[in-house]
């Protein structure tokens, strides 16, 4: 009993016949081939799979692909414009808000929504907002810092003038 699902992901149309039991995260990763959205659990706890569905941040392992029929979806791959990163992506990079980077796409997608709802969150509000996203590497501080620095346009406490910075060439 396959069903047709049509979604827009990062501006591109995708249409597939899928089994009703297919999770949205599997659709995004396996059928749309966008593997920046990760899977870290099977109990909806880790948040590595967070994407935006019609403007709401959603753990994409918690809904079926068929439930997203007709939706506009944004994944981590849809944030940068060419080689110009989204300010949150840049902030995570600058503030060393990641180590292994596995939780990062989900963190950034969750943070994006958090800032859209509350453009000037306090540190505590950021921490509350990230409670559904687990990171095992960083101890969370640089993640919080990245989100704060993005909101305040400040930050960069580690980068002083004259230091060589890695830049993306392409």
């Amino acid at each position: 009993m396959r069903r047709r699902v049509a979604v827009t992901i990062n501006g591109a149309k995708h249409e597939h016949e899928v089994e009703p039991r297919l999770l949205l995260v599997q659709y995004i990763r396996e059928l749309a081939g966008l593997t920046g959205t990760h899977v870290g659990c099977d109990t909806s706890n880790c948040g590595a799979c967070t994407v935006e569905v019609d403007g709401h941040s959603v753990k994409s392992c918690t809904i079926f692909a068929v439930q997203a029929d007709g939706a506009e979806i944004t994944t981590i791959e849809g944030l940068a414009k060419g080689s110009t990163l989204h300010p949150l992506q840049q902030a995570f990079w600058d503030e060393h808000g990641l180590q292994c980077g596995f939780c990062t796409p989900g963190m950034i997608m969750a943070a994006k929504q958090l800032l859209e709802r509350n453009p000037n969150p306090t540190e505590r509000e950021i921490r509350v907002g990230l409670e559904g996203n687990l990171c095992r590497c960083t101890g969370y501080h640089n993640i919080v810092k990245a989100i704060r620095c993005r909101t305040q346009g400040a930050g960069r406490r580690f980068l002083t003038e004259g230091e060589v910075r890695w830049r993306f060439h392409n």
Binding site: A80, L85, W93, H96, G139, H141, E163
Partner: protein, 787 residues
């Protein structure tokens, strides 16, 4: 050659990581992100029983299931393996017996994971259940059939350095404590995954999220009976490891075999539940420590016993067992030392190395023990540590060679930063401060396979535009090793980070690095990278000197130029120097290797513990306890770490903060524990770990000692800073509530129980009686003779 910091242009700077661009933009390909044409999916049938004999495995219905391409059982992969040469006791798929819930029995490859799962349900296994061994006590009692061979004892150690009985008799004060440290797991956010592909010519390639591709390479060769030259292992970027991906796992061997059998690429991704069974995490350890002191608080002797609950297989267990006794004397000058240990097989997932491998448990025992002694002696806990510090450039009584020690400075930083001495006597109700110190290795000084060859090798190849290809077997598991290797090479050659192109952890392309474990990569691969870069630089200087008509010793490489030190206008572009060298004698390459100095002491078992250099840490933890609920919150942590030299301070601080976070999880909530043979918490829903809300304010201090053995003086950062935090939490709880929780994790129920108990304590009363083998009386180093 040691350079003063102001001459360095990259090392010592907080530059942002090169690999982070692809990570923040979702481009990094982790193992499960790989998809190959015609790829099929493997799934593994695992034991539902903790201990059982396999009577029969009938796969006929599974084989007939539409969409199934292959089914494997133990008969297809009969050769045993294990990470340590002494513990080759695992089978990719169990043949005769299962030893824990989750032990692999059979495997299926199918066109999708759903079909593979359905097929697993169609495999009939007949078991004869055996009584499980679920604790140290049950393992000692030895009722029922042993898990392996004739006894549940896997490994024993009994070593003595000098006469400890005599020294304890002569001591002014002796104290004995028993503590228990429950197991916990790594919980990397990425679940293990592997993809295997067989080329038309039969050559096998395995992509795997592994910290140790070299050892996986060896095991594949052995189990599949293929020459290693016909196998290529590529480690994919690890989505976190913490030791959990440093073993050889059944799914890696099974994916390879399924690819060989079906001729199609095969992917196996473990579910989160399977990751809990793959484990190789923290050993539960029951410990007893007995120490003698002089009146002034100086240690005269120590006797330490560990009982390790090892799980169903050997894994790294022999090393883990030794590690529980290895590093007691690197933080304290202990003149006489006895260490006895036993590791038991139990019917649980195998334990192995988790961040701090075998040393957080004894560190917890030791640091809580010293806190109690300090109170008895009326010496403050900081002063007691200060009176027992070892000396730099010394040997411990168990023969570990120490080079630099920044411990005293670490202690000063956290004690001053937190106001520990003043504040701890006047904390508000429910609040407390605790202190502890620790030490860790910068890479294991002896390799898993004993041989004379280097532990790390790096190859460089320069192109005509001044770009540098860097090849090394090391894998970045998030710790930032890619950045560190690039930074070291860029520093030596005077180029920028973006000039370095890395190829890592690919057994076809890269020279050996033993793996990302034991905090060895910055130190060992870093030394190899530095040696390779220096070779290349020397060659460039030679040709440039000729062209510039000067002495090569006058030249330096800075800002993409090779110039005369005192006449910087006199020089040439780096790329020009490369072109000159290439014109003269062809391709410009350089290799560097690192072999640690031979450091093992003159006794059996001395191979575990030696490291070319030790890192040191000190921590003060503040707790806020709710005496009604027993809940413990940690609002603030002060942590200092002797890093030798921070090649990138931002990355080091990241490692320290991550270690503190992980330590707090272990101290307060995380546990891998079992009921009726079953894991109590095999999911992220049940296995609690700290969130962003529960992570405290951290004050991180980096102490630099510029170690003579490390690359640019660097030591390790990835594991050591976890160690002092756990006992510091326990000591802080005592300061807050006057109760001793001698058992990790310190959960609210234990705190309440201790508060309501007359003893004001929760923890083991003693350790069980066990017949350790006769002590091996090892000689003590000269400096300890007659002390």
């Amino acid at each position: 050659m040691r350079q003063p910091a102001d001459e360095l242009s990259i090392v010592g700077k907080s530059l942002i990581k090169p690999d982070a661009f692809s990570k923040v933009s979702g481009q990094t390909k982790f193992a499960d992100d790989l998809a190959l044409p015609r790829m099929i999916y493997g799934r593994i049938l695992r034991s539902p029983h903790p201990h059982a004999r396999i009577l029969r495995v009938d796969t006929s219905r599974a084989r007939a299931h539409p969409g199934v391409l292959a089914v494997l059982t133990g008969d297809d992969l009969p050769i045993k393996f294990g990470i340590l040469p002494v513990s080759q006791d695992e089978e990719a798929l169990a043949k005769e017996k299962v030893r824990y819930v989750g032990d692999p029995i059979a495997a299926v490859a199918a066109t999708d994971e759903w079909i593979a799962d359905e097929a697993l349900d169609l495999i009939d296994v007949q078991f004869q259940e055996l009584p499980p061994v679920m604790s140290i006590e049950q393992a000692i009692a030895g009722a029922g059939e042993p898990i392996h061979g004739t006894s549940n004892v896997h490994k024993t150690v009994a070593l003595e350095f000098g006469d400890t009985d005599e020294a304890l008799r002569a001591a002014a004060h002796v104290r004995e404590d028993a503590v228990f440290f429950e197991g916990s797991t790594h919980l990397p956010m990425e679940q293990h995954a592997a993809v295997a592909q067989v080329a038309a010519d039969g050559k096998l390639t395995l992509w795997t999220s592994s910290q140790t591709p070299h050892y996986v390479h060896r095991a594949l060769g052995k189990v599949l009976e293929m020459p290693m030259s016909r196998i290529r292992v590529i480690a994919t970027p690890n989505g976190g490891g913490f030791g959990g991906k440093s073993d050889i796992f059944a799914h890696e061997l099974v994916a390879a075999k399924l690819a060989l059998v079906t001729g199609r690429p095969v992917k196996i991704t473990l579910t989160r539940e399977e990751v809990f069974y793959a484990h190789r995490g923290r050993h539960p350890v029951l410990m007893k420590v007995k120490t003698g002191f002089r009146k002034d608080g100086r240690i005269t002797a120590m006797q330490f016993q560990s009982f390790l609950d090892g799980g169903g297989y050997g894994s790294y267990g022999v090393a883990s067992t030794y590690y529980t006794g290895a590093l007691q004397a690197t933080t304290y000058a202990i003149p006489r030392y006895r260490f006895e240990a036993v590791r038991f097989f139990t019917n649980k997932p195998p334990c192995g190395p988790k961040r701090g491998h075998g040393t957080p448990q004894p560190r917890f025992a030791l640091e809580t023990h010293l806190d109690k002694v300090a109170e008895e002696l009326g010496i403050d806990p900081v002063e007691l540590r200060r009176r027992n510090l070892p000396k730099p450039d010394s040997r411990t009584v168990n023969w570990l060679r120490i080079t630099s020690i920044g411990l005293e400075e670490c202690i000063n930083k956290v004690v001053e930063g937190s106001g520990f001495l003043k504040r701890r006597t006047s904390m508000p109700a429910g609040r407390g401060l605790g202190f502890a110190v620790s030490c860790y290795l910068s890479g294991a000084g002896t390799a898993i396979y004993w041989n004379e060859m280097p532990h790390s090798e790096v190859q460089l190849k320069l192109d005509r535009n001044g770009g540098v290809s860097l090849l090394c077997g090391a894998i970045d598991i998030g710790q930032g090793s890619d950045h560190i290797l690039a930074a070291i090479v860029a520093e030596v050659l005077g180029v920028s980070l973006e000039d370095i192109q890395l190829t890592t952890a690919d057994t076809d392309l890269t020279p050996i690095d033993l793996g990302s474990y034991s905090s060895r990569v910055t130190f060992m691969a870093g030394n190899a990278a530095k040696a390779a870069a220096e070779k290349v630089r020397d060659r460039l200087f030679e040709v440039a000197a000729k062209a510039l008509q000067c002495d090569p010793d006058e030249l330096i490489a800075r800002d993409h130029r090779v110039v005369r030190r005192n006449r910087p206008a006199d020089g040439m572009d780096f790329a020009q120097a490369v072109q000159l060298a290439e014109a003269q004698d062809g391709l410009v390459t350089g290799t560097g290797s690192y072999t640690p100095p031979k450091l093992a002491g003159p006794y059996k078992g001395s191979g575990v513990g030696p490291s070319p250099a030790y890192s040191y840490s000190a921590a003060v933890v503040e707790v806020d306890c709710d005496s009604r609920t027993g809940e413990v919150r940690v609002p603030e942590v002060w942590i200092a770490h002797d890093i030798g030299r921070a090649i990138n301070p931002m990355l080091v601080i990241g490692q320290v903060e991550g270690s503190v976070y992980m330590a707090l999880g272990e101290a307060l909530m995380e546990e891998q524990s079992f009921r009726l043979g079953l894991h109590k918490f095999p999911s992220l829903l049940e296995y609690k770990s700290p969130t962003a809300l529960e992570t405290p304010i951290m004050h991180t201090y980096l102490v630099e000692t510029i170690d003579r053995e490390g690359p640019f003086g660097a030591k390790e950062a990835g594991q050591g800073p976890l160690l002092p935090v756990i006992p510091a939490v326990a000591n802080a709880i005592y300061n807050a509530l006057g109760v001793r929780i001698d058992e990790v994790p310190i959960t609210p129920d234990k705190v309440l129980k201790a508060m309501n108990d007359r003893s004001k304590r929760v923890g083991p009363k003693s350790v069980p009686a066990f017949d350790f083998p006769p002590l091996i009386n090892a000689d003590v180093p000269d400096e300890w003779k007659g002390k």
